[in-house]
Structures are given as structure tokens and as C-alpha cells.
Symmetry: D2
Subunit: 171 residues, 4 copies
């Protein structure tokens, strides 16, 4: 029997699309998440899509982070788990916000994103979404980032901007 | 710090390659696993490759299954986990054999495979390998199959040949 | 203004699809040609699809070759050009048949195919279809194969089975 | 016997690569043309690579256009044909410059480019390069753009910025 999980999309590099007239990659109305989901075999979870916003996380306001955290905490009570797709630059801000506002959620909340848009021929987007959709079934309730073959638990996760990935901020 | 895991390859659909002169897909000397591994960002595990055999699992003998099970059990004592890439038709035979010979291994042993070769434009190979390489870090010691967004524990796992995936053989 | 050309499909490796239950590549009812056409920007030609048969060319009968040749010759009178998608093993038989039955057609007839199915991650299918759809606009009336960056004119074209391509059969 | 053609690269969208730290697509030192060439079966031409510059064509100076035109004209005397990879925004400026400086070149000069970088999952880059490398073997000496399934001859070719392609500027 499939577990029902909520998939909250907020934008970020993973969902950016290319506009050939302007020649730039940006977050537009078109979500590529549905295309990505359709390319995966999902036998473990039933996905409930929640399109919350579509922003480069560098453009997120404090209110945006709070809205994401509150929505994730609420959905964690209704579903068997929550996956949040998020820009990596401010992903850790939203992750820490969930911990600050919710503490330990009712079910696992797993954030993920990508360093390279799904639209690119070479991308980490599918790997990371695959990992988040599996980790959400395996970890105990808590707040995590799943990306690049590792699952790290908040608080204390930061983006390593040089290596382009997440690490535990060990003292 | 990365965990060292052993990746035992045995062949199967996931590794089949296309020969343009004969026009068929088969398991040959060339392994595509290295190409797949190079396309993933692996920050959680350090992979030790063990190329055990390269067979369509329909061609495996009882001795092959025993060799796979013994090798996996032995590597589970030396590494933090083991991933076995295997043809899906007889994957469950090898999984049950590990349980029969080893019981609960020293570290998690995760089997995986694919219904469609990596060489195809549309394939479940990367999804399944991604899942196995993450699950091996998250589950307690035991024998599992990770594939199609779910992790199932042996004994009692069978291939559902109609739907082309694995299910628990519930009585 | 776009030229109207006829695209006659007959099957062959280029159109083979993978069946995951049987594990083989074969010519089935599903045509991948429409997917290929949709992935190209076609500003020069307007394509009229003629789905004549869907066979591995090794299974073609003498009647099949004659039917293909007669259809191509007839369409060449109605359209500004004809492209024939064909299995490479017997492509030259159909090419020579057109010359034998039609001589110099009213507009160019360009045959093409592929050594590796479109369904494969690495394939010559799109390159060859692209070339046929361009060559048909540039060459004088005659019968040709366009594939692997070259356009060769019948009669006297044969498949080089060792190199997996077509060559002129120079005496 | 293969014809030797010169392939002059000047940059443009077709060669842009993605930098994951800055999150933008740009023309850098890395050329993707070699990757593209390696993915094609080239039986008709032998390619001589000439890496002239790597610029977004919006950044080209009048001297750049003259350098491109003179280089193409000179290579057309030494080779059986010339392909120029160029940004589409100013491609027509270089095309007209060749006609102005060289008139009818000694062998065909075919310009091409792309609206979407090769690095994207969905791109016209391979189609256009494939077409240029075939057209250069089929057309009489002259200056052309080959792209999107059509070959147009200079002078009098302009970019249609709304449709994102090239058209003849008919009076």
C-alpha cells in the first residue's frame, strides 16, 4: 500500500526553464516537476502536489520562509511525509525555520533541490528528487535535506558554496 | 565522512548493451555501471567495485546464487554496506539465498536491478541505483531490494511479473 | 513557403521499441517516428505521414519491396519529395527496386534508417532522419540513401556490414 | 573518400555552458563542439577544427565580423567547404560580410547556430550542426545559413526574432 506524501514546490534552480528569446534560465509559471515525476516509477508513495510558490530562493523574503515552514509542518500532520523542493541558496533557512517553528514534525519533512536545472542534459535534479522521495519513507520524523547521495538532519545543516552541496556545520 | 560500501555487479538487464551488428541487447564484457556511477553525485558513500559476473539472471546456476550470497555476506563484514546489481528475474533467489546462508548480515545488503537497460533513453536504471546507494545508508542490517521508490525486506519478496516490479509475498 | 514531402515509414531498427516484459527490441504498432519529428524544428518541409508497414527489413518479402518502390514512385509525383524510413539490412533492395520500376522519379526519393534504435540513449536515428529531411530539399530528382553524413545515389549503393553504413559499390 | 571541410567556431548560444556556482549560461573556454562532433557519425566529411573565438555574438565587434568573414573566405580556398558555428543574433552580419568581402567563395560556406544550447535536454544544436555538415557537401559554392531544416542563401537572410529562426528578407 502506498504512503501518501505531500510534495511542496517552491521553485529554485531545479525547476528553472530556458527562454530562447531572452536566452536566460528562470523560474516561470511552467513547472517541470510534473515531467520529472512522470519519468520515475513511484511504487512506494502517492504524491499530493502543493504548488506553493516558484521563486529563486535568493528572492525569498522572511515571510516566504515562514510560509514554507508552516505549510510543511501542517502537511506533516496530514500526510505520511513531506518533500519540499527548494532553491539551494536559502534551503537551509527554510529547514532551520521548520525546526524553530515546529520542532519535531508529525512525519518526516525532507527538503531537496538541485545545483543544475532539470532542463540541462547533465543535472542532479532527478537524483535528488529520487532520493528525497525514498528518504521520506525511511527516516524517523524530523527535518532533513536529501541530496547528492546523503541525508542530513536539521538543525546545523549549511550549504558548502565551494563544493556546491550540503554539509553538517560541525563545531 | 563517506561510508565505504561494496558494489557487487552480476549483470542483468540494467547492464545490457546494444550490439548494432547483431541488433540485440545482451550482457557483454563492457560494464555500463561505471558510466552510471560517474553521472551521480556521491557524497555519502565511497564505492568499492566488485565485478563478480555479468549474466542475464535467467542464465544463473544454483552455484551462481550461492556465490553471490556468500560474497555479499563476506563483504557486509568488511564494508559499511553492500549493494548488489542483479537481473530482476532471479533477484529474489539471490536475496533469499543470502538470508538462508547469512541470516542477518553485519551491515545492510541492498539488491537492485532494472526493467529497462540503462542504454535506453527511458530507463529505470539510474533511479534504482540511486535508491540502492541511498537506502544502504539508512536501513538497519538486513537483506533488501530497493527499486521503483520502495525498499522491501527479505524474506518474502517476489517479482510481480505482470506489473514488472517487486512486492511482498503476503499470505 | 514549406515544401510538402511524403514520409513513408516501413519499420526497421530506427522504429524498434523495447518491451520490458519480454526484454527484446522489436517493431510493434507504436511508431516512434512521430516523437522524433516532434523533436525537430521543421521550417523547410511540411510532412505528410504514410505508415506503409512496420517490419524488420529482414522479414520483407519481394512483394513488400515492390509495394514500397511503387508507393514511393507514386508519391514522388504528388509531393516535392519523398523520404522512406527503412530497415538498413534490405534498404538497398528497395532502393534498387525504385530505380528498376520508376527510373528517375518526378521528385527526389531519399531512403534512410538507423543502426541503433531511437529508443537508445546513443543512436544515429535523429541524425539520419535530419539528414534525409534536408537532403530531399537539396538534391536533384533521383533515388538516394542519406545517412551518417553522406548522400549516395542509387543504383550501386550497398550496405557495408562490417562498418555498419552504406557505401558505393565501385567496381 | 571523405571531403575535408573546415569547422570554424566563434561561440554563440550553441556552445554556452552552465556554471553551477553562478547559475548562468555563458561562453567559456570549454567548447562543447567536440562533444557534439563525437556524437555524430561523420562518413562524408573530415573535419578540421578552427577555434577562432568563443563569444556571444551580441558582443562581437565589427572587427570580429571581418575576421570571421576573412577566415571563412581563406579556408574556402583550402578546403572542400567551410562550416561556421555562430551566435544567431549577429549571424546574418557575418554572412553578409562574407558576401561583401569574398563574393562567391571557392567552396560552400555554411553558417549555423542554435536557439537553445547543446547543454539543454531539449535543443536544436545537434539538428543544426548535422544539417550544416550535410549541406556543405550538397550546395554549390556560395554563402548560406543551414538551420531548422532549411538552407538559405546570402545575401538577404535575416533572423526572425519572433519565431526564433532565419528567413529570406523578401521585398
Amino acid at each position: 500500500m502506498k504512503r501518501r506524501i505531500a510534495l511542496i514546490s517552491t521553485g529554485g534552480t531545479i525547476e528553472k526553464t530556458y527562454d530562447e528569446l531572452s536566452g536566460v534560465l528562470s523560474n516561470t509559471l511552467v513547472s517541470v516537476l510534473d515531467v520529472m515525476l512522470a519519468s520515475l516509477e513511484l511504487r512506494g508513495v502517492e504524491v499530493q502536489r502543493v504548488a506553493l510558490m516558484n521563486k529563486d530562493s535568493l528572492d525569498m523574503t522572511p515571510e516566504d520562509h515562514t510560509l514554507i515552514a508552516e505549510t510543511a509542518g501542517r502537511m506533516a500532520r496530514e500526510a505520511a511525509g513531506v518533500v519540499v523542493v527548494h532553491g539551494t541558496d536559502r534551503l537551509a533557512v527554510s529547514g532551520e525555520r521548520v525546526v524553530a517553528l515546529v520542532g519535531t514534525p508529525a512525519s518526516p519533512i525532507v527538503l531537496t533541490g538541485a545545483m543544475r536545472p532539470y532542463e540541462l542534459r547533465s543535472t542532479d535534479a532527478l537524483q535528488n528528487l529520487t532520493e528525497a522521495l525514498l528518504a521520506v519513507q525511511l527516516v524517523p520524523p524530523g527535518v532533513y535535506v536529501a541530496m547528492h547521495n546523503q541525508v542530513l538532519r536539521f538543525p546545523g545543516v549549511v550549504k558548502d558554496r565551494v563544493r556546491g552541496t550540503f554539509v553538517k556545520d560541525e563545531p
